[in-house]
């Protein structure tokens, strides 16, 4: 599965129709541009774990600000 597509699906799981998926681009900032809060992050993380088959830890979330950061973490974990 394409990682960005997987992230978009996870964001849809987390936010439903409240999220405009056209805004979900690598350079988008999770909080400022997409309106993420901590529950949104958790909901997206759980969905991503199921889609990609690994588990996040708190360390993964340190320094995450953009969609690109999420893509990098998933890419690293899938290697």
């Amino acid at each position: 599965m394409d990682i960005l597509e997987g992230i978009k699906e996870a964001i849809t799981d987390a936010f439903g129709d409240d999220m405009d998926l056209e805004k979900v681009v690598p350079e988008a900032k999770l909080k400022e541009d997409l309106g993420f809060n901590s529950i949104g992050m958790l909901a997206m993380a759980v969905s991503l774990e199921e889609k990609f088959g690994f588990s996040f830890t708190n360390d993964d979330f340190i320094g995450i600000t953009t969609v690109e950061d999420v893509i990098q973490i998933i890419s690293k974990r899938l290697k």
Binding site: D13, A14, F15, G16, D18, N37, S38, I39, G40, M41, L42, A43, A45, V46, S47, S55, F56, T57, N58, D60, F61
Partner: protein, 220 residues
Amino acid sequence: MYGKEGYDINMFFYDIAHGIVLLGGHIPPPIKLTIDKKPFRNEIRDEGMLIVGNHVSYKDPWFYSAVFSNRRVFFIASELVMKDPVRNFLCRHAGCIKIDRTIADINAIKTATMTLKHKRVLSIFPEGTRRPGEHDDLSEIKAGVIFLASQTGVPIIPAYSLKPKHWYNRRTIVVGKPFRISDYTDRKFLTVSQMDEIAKALLEKINECKTVFDEVTGGK
């Protein structure tokens, strides 16, 4: 510290505190009431559950443990509560799951999820802080408790209590009727707005408990 079944370190301090609550002028345990007057313990015997109430004192978890005296009650606490070594030691041995409220603490959520999936009782105070002197209706709670319930499928039990006037007075705890996320939606993944909506419903249920509390105690 966290085993396969969630939190399973030696809980000797929990047992001591639980014993003190039961023996320290609270025999039999504090008054137990349900809104629909059904015997509470017969409804949920052998599964995980989330007890969700207002937070007035550091002692709240022990009083909940007295209401549910047939089950060990684990609880979630901010890491700020556990910042000094003594409190950290005592909390760790009292069934406390530490959560960092400044981040999306996925480690704490996973530990809590494991704890519930292994049929344990977990208490959460979703206002996020203690409000010891306030007697207003709860106005806002955090949706993390709804996230946990949706991940585990366990029932949520709303509750309300206030500190008694004197330490030797009995403490009244009103326990509401259990409900489940599946009562509201069949979705596998709840959206953030759905969680917020169910959190509002939970808030109403806790405030219903407060109404019963006021009727029973005169608001004291």
